[in-house]
C-alpha cells in the first residue's frame, strides 16, 4: 500500500511566508491544530482568533487597508456564514485577500453525505470568487498563484483545502 500524498502544515506555512503574510485571521476548523502550533511559533505572523467567520473578513479588510497582508483561515461552513461580510467588506472594498478554506466533506469522487461540501463551490460561484483546490504538497504552488491573482485583481481568491493538513495525525 502506498502512502497517500498529504498537504503538510509546514508547506502551508512556507507559502504564507513566501507571500509576505503578516496576520492570520482565523477560526479553528476540525483539523488545523498542527498548523496552529506552527503558526504560533512563527515570529513573523500575528494570529488573530475570531469567534465568527464574518468578523475575520472585516478584520482582514482593516488590516489590508492599513497596508498589511492578512490571510483568512476558516472552514467552508464558516465561509458560508460570512457571506454578507465577504460581499461588503472584501468584494465591496476591493480587498486583495486569500482565503484558506477547509473543504469539509470533500471527496475526490464527488460523492459526499456532507452538505458543507455540497454548497461550497456553489457559494463561491454565486459570489464570483475564484478558487483553487489544494490536496497535497504538490499543489501548494497554487497558493502563490492565489496571492498573485488577489493582488492583481484586488479581489478575494479562495484556496479550498481538500486535505485539511492532517492536523491530528502526528
Amino acid at each position: 500500500m502506498t502512502e497517500q500524498a498529504i498537504l503538510s502544515p509546514e508547506t502551508v506555512l512556507a507559502e504564507m511566508k513566501k507571500n509576505g503574510v503578516t496576520h492570520v485571521v482565523w477560526l479553528p476548523d476540525s483539523e488545523t491544530n498542527w498548523l496552529y502550533l506552527l503558526m504560533k511559533a512563527e515570529p513573523s505572523l500575528t494570529l488573530i482568533a475570531v469567534s465568527r467567520e464574518g468578523l475575520a473578513l472585516s478584520a482582514a479588510a482593516g488590516l489590508s487597508a492599513g497596508g498589511k497582508t492578512p490571510i483568512v483561515l476558516i472552514q467552508n461552513t464558516g465561509m458560508m456564514e460570512s457571506g454578507d461580510s465577504l460581499r461588503g467588506w472584501v468584494l465591496g472594498l476591493n480587498i486583495p485577500l486569500v482565503l484558506l478554506v477547509g473543504y469539509r466533506g470533500w471527496t475526490r469522487h464527488g460523492v459526499t453525505q456532507d452538505t458543507a461540501a455540497t454548497y461550497t463551490e456553489r457559494f463561491l460561484n454565486a459570489f464570483g470568487v475564484n478558487y483553487y483546490l489544494v490536496e497535497n504538497d504538490a499543489d501548494a504552488p497554487r497558493i502563490s498563484v492565489a496571492f498573485e491573482e488577489a493582488r492583481k485583481s484586488r479581489r478575494p481568491v479562495a484556496m479550498l483545502v481538500g486535505d485539511e493538513y492532517h492536523g491530528f495525525n502526528r
Binding site: H23, V25, T46, I48, A49, V50, S51, R52, G54, L55, L57, S58, A59, A60, A61, G62, L63, S64, A65, G66, G67, K68, P70, D84, S85, R87, G88, W89, G92, L93, N94
Partner: protein, 195 residues
Amino acid sequence: MFHTADMLKIFQQYRGDAIVVPGRSGRHWTEISTRPELDVPLGDPAMGGHASFAFGLAMALPDRKVVVFDSEGDLLMSLGTLATIAEHAPRNFYHFLLDNECYATTGGQPVPNARNIAYDAIARGAGYQQAFAFDRLEELAINLSGLLARPGPVFVAMKVVPEIQNEPIGRRRRWQKRSREQVLKDLRDALGIAT
C-alpha cells in the same frame, strides 16, 4: 441621551491625527471633520463589521490612534469581536458605541432588550480593561480629552437620540462624498502606505 452630531463636534476638538471610522455617524462626521484624509466613512459595507474593521486598521497601524464609532445594533450582531479586540488589546484603539436603542435605519424598531443592556459591562466582561458609559453630553465632554489620552483599548458607550429613517433606501439622500475605494486610497496616501 444626546445628539450624535453634538457629540461629534466636541470629539472633533480632540481627535488630533487619529484615524476615524465613523460607522453610522458618517453623514454627520463628514460635515464636521477637518481631516477627511484620515477619515474612513464607508457607510455600511455589511452590518456588524465596523469594530472589527477598525480593529484591523489599529493592528496594522500601531503608531496611529484609531477611533471607531460603532452602533449597538452592529455590536449586538458581533459581540464576539469584543473578545478578539480585548485579547490583542491594541493601545491605539478607541471604541465608541452609539446606543440609540433601536434599528434607526429600518424605522426605529427596538434592538433586543433595548433599554436594559449595559454595553460597558459587556465590554469589561469580554476583557476590556477600560469601559465607560455616558448618557449626558456634559459629562462626556469633560472626560473626552482624558479618555483619548489613555492607552487603549478604551470602550465608551453613549446613549444617543435615535435619528429614525423611514424612507426606502433607494430614496435616501446620499451623504458620501467619496467612493469607498477613494476613501481607502486617500487614507493610504495620507499615511504613505504603498498599495
